[in-house]
Symmetry: C2
Subunit: 147 residues, 2 copies
Amino acid sequence: MTDTKHHETALRTLIQQWVDATCKGDLDAVMALYTPDVVAFDAIGALQHKGVDAYRQHWEMCLSFMPPGGEMIMEPHEVTVSVGGDIAFAHYVSRCGCIDDKGEQQIGWLRATVCCRNMPEGWRIVHEHYSSPFDPQTMKIAEDLAP
Amino acid sequence: MTDTKHHETALRTLIQQWVDATCKGDLDAVMALYTPDVVAFDAIGALQHKGVDAYRQHWEMCLSFMPPGGEMIMEPHEVTVSVGGDIAFAHYVSRCGCIDDKGEQQIGWLRATVCCRNMPEGWRIVHEHYSSPFDPQTMKIAEDLAP
């Protein structure tokens, strides 16, 4: 396996670790994937979150929205990874949401861009950007979106 | 100037070229900054745009929203650039909107992530992601945001 292929595989593994940790609601496992100086643009809430401590507080708020007994769904599709030297970026669209305790799905599509740095401890996320596009007529999140 | 500094300067110039071309409504100049296979996640409209031809159609729609005689405003703040080998990523928050022909400002903040590749013709954008976060209670774009 070439070096580039090796790193691309490591980055896809990192994205899957993030998905698995998020779906489990394992906050420590999620936060371990970020650098201390991460700058994050999340789909909801503040314009930006600077540093892992501030971002952890935002994550705690996000996880509190999960319905008790519900199941989180996050399925990355069309994952594209580019590596150069000690940095990398990836983007994908993600089917995500939750199934509540009555079995009802609340699911939509998000876009994700993940920027990474190869640290002594391995690849870590230095910047991420999640969002939904909005309808400029209503200023609401566009629904019924699909890739 | 080191190679890295040289590339960082080139990338900041690329971002400024994009801003200048956008504010002028110069579609050809904007599109010249993308690779043919660009994948874009824009703040409004579809979930994603694949390829420069599809993205140009979206841009034409966006520019049609500009009020006649109005002035477009796009001010990148907190621009961060990382370069590795032949790829790079940048992120910033942007004060953007327009001043209409009555002099009224319609301005808000967006987040931007720009991923680039060093091509034979220079740095080009292979992926970009623009968005506003939304309020999960109303599903509307959060207003009164600031960095």
